[in-house]
């Protein structure tokens, strides 16, 4: 491994050299290391080769691994997603990039009808990852800002990951690539290069198991269950609430939405007796509904207040800054909801 590390270009040996990485760099290192580790791993997507991808996640990979392992595809989400499934049938471990995750909808049939059902139909597991830049807050407009995770949450056979930290992003992309089932891996582009998220990761290989939530912040008064960019908005709100109200807010970062770590949610609810679910995805049909139902089924008697949610508005994602800022859940929304719960 040591010789390999010196063979790596500088931009993918930051962790190996003890330097801090952004969330994007963490994902890039994770993919690179998996490609080194397992020759079955290969990449498909638009402009991912010489150009290195719209966000440069795959920068330098085609040069190192060749055009048969880093494949520039035609603009055809059905075509390359289906092709990835076929390659997975043959024992490969494809990683598909959606240039923006908004375009995953073009492949909805292939993912939900073909890939997700394959194991059940007796055609074998489809070990593949579909990943891409997701989420709002970057003035991307209706088709470069979406959070379509819940469009797939209702499909048995899929796994859904949406990390919030560099450590988790690297460990989870590696676990996703090694997983025997299809994983949708959402990467929040507002977090990609945020300097505040830079951290020093272990120099050695590690994974973060799928299906396990993480306590992002310990607290005793109110639980916030959230994921992705909203973990950081919730953190900001929690600090403000601690400062101004003396409230102790616990934050559970789901990390994996499917399978949902029900036990982690229930344990936090039993501890604080108050639950706020925060998601950047739109309100109706968002994960808050499912979480509230699970708590209702299994921890109803532990609640001292109704479960609340803070989510994006039920609208397409608007472009103009005042509109997008109004559309997205903000720190003040979270603060207000937690105060309501604490006072209930």
């Amino acid at each position: 491994m040591a010789t390999l590390i010196h063979d790596r270009p500088e931009h993918v040996r930051l962790s190996a050299e003890g330097k801090p990485v952004t969330l994007l760099e963490a994902i890039r290192e994770g993919i690179w290391e998996e490609m080194e580790r397992d020759e079955r791993v290969f990449l498909l997507g638009e402009d991912i080769g010489a150009y290195g991808g719209a966000f440069k996640v795959t920068e330098g990979m085609q040069e190192r691994f060749g055009a048969l392992r880093v494949i520039d595809t035609p603009i055809s989400e059905i075509g390359f997603t289906g092709a990835a499934a076929g390659a997975a049938h043959m024992g490969m471990r494809p990683v598909v990039e959606m240039q923006f995750i908004d375009f995953i909808s073009c492949a909805y049939d292939m993912i939900t009808n073909y890939i997700a059902t394959s194991r059940y139909r007796g055609s074998g597991g489809v070990p593949m990852v579909i990943r891409g830049p997701s989420g709002g807050g970057v003035r991307g407009g209706p088709f470069h800002s979406q959070n379509p995770e819940m469009a797939f949450f209702h499909t048995p056979g899929l796994k859904i990951v949406y990390p919030s930290t560099a450590y988790d992003a690297k460990g989870l992309i590696k676990a996703a690539i090694r997983d025997p089932d299809p994983v949708l891996f959402f990467e929040h582009k507002w977090l990609y290069r945020r300097p505040q998220l830079r951290e020093v990761l272990p120099a050695e290989d590690y994974t973060v198991p799928l299906g396990e939530a993480r306590t992002h912040r310990e607290g005793t008064d109110v639980s916030i269950v959230t994921y992705a960019a909203m973990v950081h908005k919730s953190q900001e709100a929690a600090e403000q609430l601690q400062r101004e109200d003396g409230l102790s807010v616990e934050i559970i970062d789901l990390r994996t939405l499917l399978p949902l770590d029900e036990e982690a949610i229930l344990a936090s609810v039993r501890k604080t007796n108050r639950l706020l679910v925060v998601h950047e995805d739109t309100r109706t049909g968002g994960i808050a509904g499912e979480i509230a139902m699970r708590v209702n089924e299994k921890a109803f008697e532990w609640l001292d207040a109704p479960i609340l949610r803070v989510a994006a508005l039920d609208a397409p994602i608007p472009y103009s800054p005042p509109l997008e800022d109004f559309f997205l859940p903000g720190v003040e929304d979270i603060v207000k909801a937690v105060r309501h719960l604490a006072a209930y």
């Binding site: 289906g82 092709a83 076929g86 007796g122 055609s123």
Partner: protein, 357 residues
Amino acid sequence: MPNQTEAPPVEIPHALVRGDLLALYRYIRLTRTLEERLVNLHRQNKVVGGLFRSLGQEGESVASAFALRRRTDGTGDMLSPLIRNLGSMLVMGAEPVEVLRQYMAKGDSPARGKELNIHFTDYQRGFVGQISPLGDMVPVMTGVTLTFRQRGEERVGMVYLGEGATSTGAFHEGINFAAVQRCPLVVIVESNGYAYSTPTAKQSAVKAFVDKAPGYGVAGEQVDGNDVLAVYGAARRAVDRAREGGGVTLIEVITFRRLGHAQHDNQSYQSVEEIERWASTNDPLDRYVATLLGNGWASEADLAGLDTQVERELDDAIAVADASPLPQDEDTLLDVYADGPVPLPWTRHTLPDPARA
């Protein structure tokens, strides 16, 4: 009758031998008879879902698949059939008893009761089960054959679709990507007159589906789908081209769907005369038998012997499939994920939550 000893022997085309010709006959006969048996089982309510027939198309299914390199250890060529390609699957080694168990929804069927009819897979024998959204198998087989290229394996893929499925985005995206990557893929478009009830003219404005080939920069060939040896020849040329690095070929197979889309379909939209004309003058099995006998490649006795074999084989297979068990309730929960069954909530199928009793 000319004296047989004086007549020059007719050479068998496409480097086939007499044993191949008889094998082709046997597969076509097996396909037709198996489907006839399935009709009986359907009438007895032993086939629990829909029943799809390939009457009139058995020849092209069998002959095209016969051009592939067939293995049982996962090193041969791969195909993905469509609903009227029972014959192709039998050629690749699917067993009648498997097909019967599938149609009868048995627990020991290849898909273990979770998926129906000929939607099943065996990577060792080389067939990938289709799903019902049409055109989807083209991208999937593009990926299968892309991996052959990635690994430098001299293997070929074949994917079937009806002319109706050429209207889908999946077909377009799949064949285009395969063409760009020069995947060793043979795309067989079966032009059989109807997609369910929709006639070809309502499906596409092209005069011939083979005309789509140049649009993707791939080789194209049109063939009389009810001429068994012509189909084999076309498929063989395409398979050889693919194996030699020549990339994708689109073969348009001209044939005719003589029965409805499925067993329930009364074909009210079709002309009886047209069906009758194809049945009486252009049946692939009749034509093939005439070729075999006319060229002296087989005798009536040879074919009758194979017919008897097929009947016996199917008698046995039906008895075995009929005795197969149905799946267990709890099997419902298995094989959604690799890491264990999905949960069975206490509000379903169980007594009230014991914790609250």
